[in-house]
Amino acid sequence: MSKLLPRYLLLFIILVLLQVWVLNNIQVSGFINPYLYVLFVLLLPFQTPNWLLLFLSFILGLTIDMFCDTLGMHASATVFMGFLRPIVLQVITTRDTYESGTSPSIHLLGFNWFIKYSLILVFSHHLFLFLVEAYNFNAFYLIFWRTLVSTFFTILLIVLSQYIIFRKK
């Protein structure tokens, strides 16, 4: 646990800075905006207590909000994602229990599992986020389309990061 803390703190800072400095400025046709910062929630260890999961999600979202000047928007979406994570883990489990002391990764649980896992959560997060941003259901198809495309780019970055940064030790 004490070993994990600095690692996740570093991950947190790097992801927030990457999101704020780089990814928020990449807006393909002013439409597609990957939100890679959710990777932090995805990569938290399996044994993370639920309350801590929600709390960390909230802090992460709020931090992004502070930089984006959209207080509450990312926080609500990320908390929603954090709420879904244990449920998704339960639903798509391959074994009875996840090994303690490990965290979700493409190398440990396979490409298919990881894609399924991150796709559901990222899509939920993005949909929630864009809905909150629009704050009505009038342009739902546009929001849905935007969610799909942004999810694709986010997943792409997540998978790339899995192969490039979080390599098998």
Binding site: N50, L54, F55, L71, G72, M73, A75, F83
Partner: protein, 276 residues
Amino acid sequence: MRSLLNFFYTYHFIILFLLMEFFSFFLLIQYNDYQKASFLNSSNQISGIVYKKFSSISQYLSLKDKNLQLMNIITDSRNTSLTSFKQDKVSLINVYDTIYQQQYQFLNASVINNSVNKANNFLTLNIGRKQGIDKGMAVVSPEGIVGVVKDVSANYASVISLLNQNLKISAMFKKSGYFGSINWNGANYQYITFSELPSHVSVSIGDTVITSGYSAMFPKGELVGIVSEVDKSDTGEFLEVKVQLAVDFKKLEHVMVIKNLLYQEQIQLETESSHE
């Protein structure tokens, strides 16, 4: 208590989640203008519906009071409406008497438009040519004189108010009989200037000013007002007297139009004499 704690323990995840979402949305609505506006908009709609329901209930509860108020208003209006008065149009009956020939007829009229704050004020009356009104007729109220009819249409009459700088009316002192003319100076709607008085005339404050009857319009003796100030004009030959009007033009409602039945005769004679 134990089961309550148990409940919280069992559902702490969902409760925590809901709390955080509430807090997030609180922040969202508090600090983001667009979301704030749409939230306020929808909540205003909801509160509008609630208020509407509530007010319809409270209106129902106060129906008794409302009915009482309405009854009071109805009785008041019935008391003042024409139908509760005996129609007694004495003023319109022509008296054919060889000794007393009727010279003036009085017609009832209501003021439907009035002003006191302009340099030249006009009134509008609710009767016109159809009711027998014509140009040049005098208009008085029960308190005193009001003005002269300027134009008439079929059902309306426009009256030059006494508060009009273009209107000059011949007036006199009731006590001494000296006459001059009254004219408004455009300042205060309560006062009028009585000018063209010789300086030797003794005027004291409180004297009554009446119409002289020298013009064909006004009968003699209609009240104009009461002297409130006496001034010697700059030239010293004439007196300037400030007269407080008997009529309060600000609350003028009912007036009478005076029809001079001998108007044509007088005017004809006067023009004939002046032409010679």
